[in-house]
C-alpha cells in the first residue's frame, strides 16, 4: 500500500478515531448536563452525525483488513478454480453495488440540503453525505482487492471475520 491510497487510509483512520472519541465525549457531556438540569440538546445530534461517519469509515477500514464476516463453509468444498471465479464475481458485484450507492447517495444528499438535523440548524445532508462518501471509499478498496485477487491466483476465501455479538 503506497502513495495516494496509503495516505487516504491514514486520513480515514485519523478521522474515524476522532469521530468515535468525539461521539463518546458528546454523549457523556449530554448525560452530565441533563443530570444537572441544563441539557445540551445539540450534543446528541452532533454525536449521531459523528456516529454515521465513524460507521462508514470503519466499514471501509474493516473491508481493507478483510474482516467482514464471510460464511465459507460451502464454498470451501468447491474446487479452487470455482472458488476463484466466485471470489472475482462477488467483489465485482460489490464494486458495482457500492458505485450504485454512491450515485443514489448523492441524489439523496441533494434532497436533504434544506432539511435541518434534529434540534440544530445543521443540514441533514451532512448525515446522508456519509453514505456516498463511505460507499466511494469502499468501492476504491473493493476494486483494489479485486485487482489483487486477479493478479494472485493463490488468494482464496479466508474463514469468517469476527462477530461483534
Amino acid at each position: 500500500m503506497t502513495g495516494f491510497y496509503a495516505a487516504l487510509a491514514r486520513g480515514e483512520d485519523v478521522v474515524a478515531r476522532a469521530c468515535l472519541a468525539g461521539c463518546a465525549v458528546l454523549v457523556f457531556v449530554a448525560a452530565v448536563s441533563r443530570a444537572m438540569g441544563v441539557p445540551i440538546l445539540w450534543a446528541i445530534d452532533i454525536a449521531m452525525l459523528l456516529f454515521i461517519w465513524c460507521a462508514f469509515l470503519g466499514a471501509d477500514a474493516a473491508l481493507r483488513a478483510r474482516q467482514h464476516i464471510i460464511i465459507d463453509i460451502i464454498v470451501r468444498l468447491f474446487p479452487q478454480r470455482v472458488q476463484r471465479a466466485l471470489l472475482i464475481t462477488h467483489w465485482s458485484v460489490m464494486v458495482l453495488f457500492l458505485l450504485t450507492l454512491v450515485g443514489l447517495g448523492i441524489q439523496l444528499t441533494m434532497l436533504n440540503v434544506q432539511r435541518p438535523m434534529g434540534d440544530t440548524e445543521i443540514s441533514y445532508a451532512y448525515v446522508t453525505a456519509a453514505v456516498p462518501f463511505g460507499a466511494l471509499l469502499m468501492a476504491i478498496t473493493a476494486a483494489r482487492q479485486l485487482a489483487a485477487f486477479w493478479r494472485d491466483p493463490k488468494l482464496h476465501f479466508g474463514s469468517g471475520g469476527e462477530s461483534p455479538l
Binding site: D13, A16, R17, L20, A21, C23, A24, V25, V27, F28, A31, A35, I44, A47, M48, F51, I52, C54, A55, F56, L57, G58, A59, D60, A61, A62, L63, A65, H68, I69, I70, I71, I73, I74, V75, Q83, L86, H90, V93, M94, F97, T100, L101, L104, G105, Q107, L108, L111, V127, T128, A130, V131, F157, S159, G160, G161, E162, S163, P164, L165
Partner: protein, 426 residues
C-alpha cells in the same frame, strides 16, 4: 417479494459474499426493480438506521470493552479468577468460565471475550494437558456468559429493533448469566473429574490472598454495580451508560492502574473502529430489508399464522427456541437478530409473553448460534486461534451446549428466572 429477496440474500451469503454485502445487494436489487418504491428510499433507510439514540450504545460499549482491555482491567480479572477457582477440579477451565462471567460485567461481546481468552488462557490450558477440543469448547461456549450478563451488545440490538426497554433487558440478564456460570462450572467439573484434569493450584490460596485480589480488581467488579444502579434509578439511559463506561475505563486505566497511555488509547480506538464498521455495515445495509419486511406486513401475517398454529405460550416459546437454535447453526447471530426481532416481538406480545422475558430467551439462543457448528463466529475465532479442527471442537462442546440449551428451555418455561430481578428493581 420478501421470500424472493430472502432467498437471493441466502444464496449470495452461502456462496461466500461478505454477509453485509449479500444483504445489501439483495435489498438494493429489490428497490431497483420495484416500480412503486423509489430507490432513494433504500438509501434513506441506510442513513436513518444510524440516527437513533439507543443505537449509540453499540459503538460506546464496543469502545468501552476495548479500553477495559487496554487499561489493565482484564489482566486483573484473570488473576482474580485464578485465585477464586484455580484450585477447583478442572483448574484453568473453571478459570476461563469465571473470567467470562467477570468480563460480562464490563464487556458486551461474546466473541471479543472468546478471542481474548483464546489468546491469553488458551495456550496455558493446552500446556496443562487439556485437550484442544475441550479448551476451545470451554472458551467458546463459556463466552456466552459475557453476552448474557449486562452490558450486552445483542440485547441492545434486540431492544432497539423490538422497541423494548434496554434497561430492563440488561437487568433481566443478571440471573440467567449467573445460572449459566454455575451450570457450566458444574458440567466442567464432571468432565474434569472423569478425565483427571488437574487443578491449576493444589489448594485454595487462602482468604487473605483472595481479598487482596478482590481489592486489585475492585474497579472492574464495581462497574456492573454502577451500571445497574445507574439504569435502575433512571439516572442514565443505556447509551449514556455506554459513554460513562468509556469515561470510567479511561479514568481507571490512567489514574488507578496507570497502564493506559496515549498509544494504547489510540490502539483501542482503532480496534473499536474496525468492530463498529463491521457490525454497523450489516445493520445499515439490512435496514433496507427491514423496510420491505414491514412494507409487506410480514410480522402481522407471521403472527396470524403462528397464533393459528398454537395459542399455548409454552409451546410457542419451545417452537421459537428450536427454530432459532436451528437457524443459529447456519446463520450469523447479528443477521438473526436483525431479521427476526421485528417479526417475532409483535408475535410474542400478541401471545401474551413479556418481550423482556422473550428477549433474554431469544438472545441467549441466538448468541449460542455463534458457538454451534457448522457455522459460528465465536467457534471459528477460538478454533482458528488455537488451530483446532471443528470436529474435535464439536465432540467436546456437546455436553456444554446441552447444559446451555437446558438452561434456555428452563428460562423459556419459567419466566421468573428472567423477570424476577427487573420486576423487583424497576
Amino acid at each position: 417479494m420478501t421470500i424472493g429477496l430472502t432467498a437471493f440474500f441466502l444464496v449470495l451469503m452461502f456462496l461466500g459474499m461478505p454477509v453485509a454485502f449479500a444483504v445489501g445487494v439483495a435489498s438494493l436489487t429489490f428497490f431497483l426493480t420495484s416500480d412503486t418504491i423509489p430507490a432513494q428510499i433504500g438509501v434513506q433507510r441506510i442513513a436513518s438506521a444510524t440516527q437513533s439514540f439507543p443505537l449509540l450504545a453499540v459503538p460506546l460499549f464496543v469502545l468501552a470493552g476495548n479500553l477495559m482491555n487496554a487499561s489493565g482491567i482484564t489482566d486483573r480479572i484473570i488473576t482474580l479468577a485464578k485465585v477464586m477457582t484455580g484450585w477447583i477440579t478442572g483448574g484453568l477451565a473453571q478459570v476461563a468460565i469465571v473470567v467470562s462471567a467477570l468480563m460480562g460485567g464490563v464487556s458486551g461481546s461474546a466473541v471479543a471475550d472468546a478471542a481474548m481468552e483464546a489468546r491469553i488462557l488458551g495456550p496455558a490450558m493446552l500446556q496443562n494437558g487439556f485437550s484442544r477440543g475441550f479448551t476451545c469448547a470451554v472458551i467458546a461456549v463459556g463466552s456466552l456468559i459475557t453476552a448474557t450478563i449486562p452490558p450486552s451488545i445483542g440485547l441492545i440490538l434486540y431492544g432497539f429493533l423490538g422497541n423494548v426497554s434496554i434497561g430492563k433487558l440488561f437487568i433481566g440478564g443478571v440471573v440467567p448469566g449467573l445460572l449459566m456460570t454455575i451450570l457450566l462450572m458444574g458440567t466442567t467439573w464432571v468432565i474434569a473429574t472423569r478425565r483427571g484434569y488437574k487443578p491449576d493450584n493444589p489448594t485454595f490460596p487462602g482468604v487473605m490472598h483472595l481479598l487482596r485480589e478482590l481489592n486489585h480488581s475492585k474497579w472492574a467488579l464495581l462497574f456492573p454495580v454502577f451500571l445497574v444502579i445507574g439504569i435502575r434509578f433512571g439516572i442514565f439511559t443505556p447509551s449514556e451508560v455506554g459513554a460513562f463506561a468509556v469515561f470510567y475505563a479511561v479514568m481507571v486505566g490512567v489514574f488507578a492502574y496507570r497502564q493506559l497511555n496515549w498509544a494504547k488509547f489510540n490502539e483501542a480506538l482503532r480496534h473499536s473502529i474496525h468492530d463498529i464498521g463491521m457490525i454497523m455495515l450489516i445493520i445499515m445495509l439490512s435496514s433496507m430489508i427491514g423496510y420491505v419486511i414491514s412494507l409487506e406486513q410480514v410480522p402481522a401475517h407471521a403472527a396470524q399464522w403462528i397464533i393459528g398454529v398454537t395459542q399455548n405460550q409454552n409451546l410457542l416459546m419451545a417452537m421459537l427456541v428450536v427454530f432459532i437454535l436451528l437457524l443459529g447453526m447456519f446463520l450469523e447471530s447479528t443477521v438473526i437478530v436483525l431479521l427476526l426481532t421485528p417479526i417475532l416481538v409483535p408475535i410474542v406480545i400478541k401471545a401474551g409473553i413479556d418481550p423482556v422475558h422473550f428477549g433474554l430467551v431469544m438472545m441467549t439462543a441466538t448468541t449460542l448460534g455463534g458457538m454451534t457448528p457448522p457455522v459460528g463466529v465465536a467457534m471459528f475465532t477460538v478454533c482458528g486461534l488455537l488451530k483446532t479442527p471443528i470436529d474435535e471442537y464439536t465432540k467436546e462442546a456437546l455436553p456444554l451446549l446441552a447444559a446451555v440449551i437446558t438452561l434456555i428451555f428452563t428460562m423459556a418455561f419459567v419466566p421468573q428466572i428472567v423477570l424476577f430481578l427487573p420486576n423487583l428493581l424497576m
